[in-house]
Symmetry: C2
Subunit: 257 residues, 2 copies
C-alpha cells in the first residue's frame, strides 16, 4: 500500500507566525499524499478576549458556548485555515482547506452533558472518506481544522488531536498511514522540564504504568489515548515530537501498542 | 448542455439570520448542479467595530488593510461560509465551502494603487475549473465566499459579485450557465424607492443611457458591469432579483447584451 502522512500541528507552532511559516515551507516540500490538521486554541482565546467573550476551560478542555463557537469557527476555519492554505499554495503545494462540515467529511455529536456541559463540543461519530480520497487522487493536500458538525445544521468544536486520529483511522484501509503529532516538545517526556527525559518508545503497558505513577499527566493523556485509538484502528505508525522529525532523523516518541 | 445554476446572495439576505435560513432551506431543494456565492460585508463591518478596527470605505468599496483582511477572512471564510455549509448539510444538500485559495480555484492580483489604495483587494485573473468540475461531478454543491489569493501566499478580499461572474464565465464552456444575483430588491429599479419601477429587461444600450441620465447609480453599476461581463463570456442568462425568483415566476430583471 501507498504511504499517507497525516500531520497534526498544535501547541506553539500554530500560534507563532514565525514557527508556522517555517513549518509550512518544509511541509510544502514533503512528498504527497499528505494531510495536515491544525488547532489554534491560543489564537481563538486571544480573539475571544479582544471581543470581551469569557474563555471558559475545564481541566484544559474548552467549554464552547454559542459565542465561543463563533470565535473558534472564525479563527480555525477562517483566519488560520485560509492563511495556511494560501501559504502552502504560495509554496507550490496544492492545498485545500476543510472543516468536517464540508462535503460531510466528519460527523460528530454534541458531547452529552454530565457533570460538565462542554457546550458545542463535538465527539466524532463518523469520517466519510469519499471526498478525501478523491482529493488525494487529484494530488490535492487537504488541510483540516478542528471544526465538525452534527449533520443537522450545527457546527461543533472538536479536539484537533482527535480529528487527526479519526481521519488517520478512517484511511488505514486504503493507505499505510503514518500519523505525526507535532508540537514544541521532542515527544513524551518523563520530566516536562527536561528534554533529556524523552521516551523514545511508548507502549500501552508503559503508558498505563506511567499514568498510574502520575508521570504522564494533563494534556498528554488524551493525546496518547488518540494515539492508541489510531493504532488499534489500523494506523501503521504514530509519532510525537517537533516538526523537524518529519524531515530528519531527530529523536521523538514512537507510540506502539 | 446541462444547466448549471450559479447564485450569488448578498445585501440583507446574508446579514439577516432569518432571511438566510429561509433562503438556504429553499436553496437546498434546488436541483443540482448548483454553486452558491456569498458576501457578508455588514457582518464583517460589525466584527471590525467590535474589535475597534476602523471600517474604511471609498464610494461603497471597502479598503482592506491588514487588520481588515483578517476580519473579512474570519467572517466570510469562517463564520458565514461554514454556517451556510452546515445548514445546507442539515437540509440534505451536500455542500462544500471554498475560498479562491483552496485548490487554487481563483487567482487574483492585488489591486494596483492609483489615487486610492484599496489595500488587500483582489482583482481576479484566472479561475481554475478543474476542482470545481470534479466536485460537481461528485454531486457536491460548492459554496464560495469572496476571498481569493495571489498564488504567492497572500489572501485577497474580492467583490462577491465579481467572484460569481468570474466563476460563471469560466464554466460556460461546460454548462448552460444561469447566473442569479439575489438581494432584497425585485431587480433593477428606475426609482430605488418604488418597486413598481422595476426594469424587467435591461440591455447594454439601455444601461448606458440610464447610467448617463444618472438613473442607475452607485452600487448597481459595478453589479451590472459584472452581468454584462458574464454574458460577453458565454453565460446563458443573468437575472437580478429577490431569491423567490429562483423558485417561482416572480418579476425580476433579466440582463441582456
Amino acid at each position: 500500500m501507498k504511504t499517507l502522512k497525516i500531520i497534526k500541528i498544535g501547541g506553539h507552532i500554530i500560534d507563532s507566525p514565525k514557527l508556522l511559516t517555517e513549518f509550512l515551507e518544509q511541509y510544502a516540500q514533503l512528498a504527497a499524499p499528505k494531510i495536515l490538521i491544525h488547532g489554534g486554541g491560543k489564537t481563538a482565546s486571544t480573539l475571544a478576549e479582544n471581543l470581551g467573550i469569557p474563555v471558559k476551560m475545564d481541566q484544559g478542555r474548552r467549554i464552547t458556548d454559542e459565542e465561543m463557537l463563533k470565535v473558534t469557527t472564525m479563527v480555525y476555519a477562517g483566519l488560520l485555515n485560509k492563511h495556511i492554505v494560501a501559504t502552502l499554495q504560495g509554496a507550490q503545494c496544492n492545498a485545500i482547506g476543510l472543516t468536517g462540515a464540508d462535503a460531510n467529511c466528519i460527523e460528530a455529536q454534541k458531547r452529552p452533558v454530565t457533570d460538565i456541559d462542554y457546550g458545542f463540543a463535538g465527539d466524532i461519530t463518523k469520517v466519510n472518506t469519499q471526498l478525501i480520497l478523491s482529493l488525494l487522487e487529484q494530488q490535492l493536500s487537504p488541510v483540516f481544522c478542528a471544526v465538525t458538525h452534527d449533520k443537522n445544521g450545527q457546527l461543533l468544536n472538536t479536539n484537533a488531536d482527535t480529528v487527526a486520529a479519526a481521519i488517520a483511522s478512517s484511511l488505514s484501509a486504503e493507505f499505510d498511514v503514518m500519523l505525526y503529532y507535532c508540537f514544541e516538545k521532542k515527544g513524551v517526556l518523563k520530566d516536562l522540564h527536561d528534554e533529556g527525559s524523552l521516551l523514545e518508545t511508548l507502549c500501552l503497558d508503559d503508558f498505563t504504568s506511567l499514568q498510574q505513577e502520575g508521570i504522564i499527566a494533563s494534556g498528554m493523556i488524551p493525546k496518547l489515548h488518540n494515539c492508541f485509538e489510531a493504532l488499534t484502528h489500523g494506523v501503521t505508525a504514530v509519532k510525537i515530537g517537533i516538526p523537524a522529525m518529519l524531515f530528519s532523523n531527530i529523536p521523538h516518541t514512537t507510540v506502539q501498542l
